[in-house]
Amino acid sequence: MAAMPKVSNGKADPGYLADLLVSVGRDRDRIAFAELFSYFGPRVKAYLMRQGAGEAQAEELVQEAMIMVWRRAESFDMSKSGASTWIFTIARNKRIDALRREKRPEYDPDDPALVPAAAEDADSLVEAAQQSERLSVAMKSLSSEQAELIRMAYFEDKAHGAIAEETELPLGTVKSRLRLALGHLRKALKEYQ
């Protein structure tokens, strides 16, 4: 069995992470998987704990999520999403399953009822590989207050009203700041805008 390699926990290049995931899917590459694990395992755990999982449960769910990553890696398409996004959705679904005990209805890309996107819509979105890069640059350009508002809205299931109470900001201010911050991030995801 491969030993866990010493990989830095620091920032990793999104393109590199996507390549690792492709190697796992295509070649069942265990070294690549170990690297993915050392980068994402601790982050998935941090995410789950931020969502209210206890230490032991988070640990268990990380394992389940990473096994799912191994099993599903072949369906990862780097032209459609980044590795972080793809693994985030797996962790998210594990969380819904385990912490909320609910189903998560999702659309099916092969559904005969699916209304396809017009071709130009698909083009207007930046390639997935660049997407993560741009997003993280855009995130860094937010004020720490804006970034925290977004984290609260996104990771703590907090409605705008609850955020307003907690930050002691007027609701209208929370809304407009969140909207501004999200608009800024959205811009990073679209070309020529």
């Binding site: 170990a34 601790p42 999403s81 985030f88 969380r95 998560r104 559904d111 997003l135 009203g161 809304k175």
Partner: protein, 226 residues
């Protein structure tokens, strides 16, 4: 293409995984019919990915990786003969139904085609049939309104979210057709009138009083002021 969409806050909550099951069913069905909102949700998922990336990593138990590899070894040896690697893991599918127009997420909750559903009469020209969700699910049902029928003025105890599947209706706020989503505030006097022509079939989620954890109401309240 639909003209009335779930709010950005709802789409973000769906991507974040914090939307309750009943509303997720509305969103997933809407996404089937709305490429613009699919792109929005993908962007919000990418946001989730980069937010997760930016979290301070939590330390993992040292045995975590070897437990995973042990499990993977076991999985690999089990599946070696039966399925070549990477065979997509098929979701359990309901038997094929005749009506391909029903969005798949919704079809998965029904046992039969729309035409074979057992409808319950609510009033003249209005019928419904309940959809079973998990234990904490809000009241979720399909409604069928005959052409031209006006549903009497009503208010709700909580918000009511409607997705049009067939036909259409109008009320004071506008005209709604296949794929459109309406979020009705409890304070709004709401009197939908079905279009003439064909019956209007909608997916309707109402806030279940008291039983909810509160997420549903908390989530929705701020939206309607958008």
């Amino acid at each position: 293409m639909p003209k009335h969409h779930p709010s950005e806050e709802i789409l973000m909550a769906y991507a974040a995984g914090s939307l309750p099951e009943a509303l997720s069913l509305v969103v997933a069905s809407h996404l089937t019919l709305c490429p613009a909102c699919r792109a929005e949700v993908e962007a919000y998922e990418a946001l989730g990915g980069s937010l997760m990336d930016a979290l301070d990593p939590a330390s993992l138990d040292e045995s975590a990786f070897s437990s995973i590899m042990a499990e993977i070894d076991m999985l690999d040896s089990e599946t070696e003969e039966s399925a070549p690697w990477g065979g997509a893991m098929p979701l359990p599918r309901k038997p094929d139904m005749e009506d391909p127009s029903l969005p798949r997420p919704l079809r998965d909750y029904l046992q039969v085609d729309l035409t074979a559903l057992q409808w319950r009469k609510v009033m003249r020209g209005v019928e419904d049939t309940e959809i079973e969700l998990g234990p904490d699910g809000a009241k979720t049902r399909l409604m069928r309104i005959q052409p031209g029928v006006a549903v009497p003025k009503h208010t709700h105890h909580g918000q009511e979210v409607t997705l049009v599947l067939e036909g259409g209706y109008s009320d004071a706020d506008g005209h709604y057709e296949r794929g459109d989503v309406q979020i009705a505030d409890p304070s709004v006097d709401h009197q939908p009138v079905a279009d003439v022509g064909e019956p209007c079939i909608c997916l309707v989620v109402s806030d279940a009083p008291m039983k909810m954890t509160g997420t549903f109401g908390r989530l929705l309240n701020p939206f309607v002021t958008y």
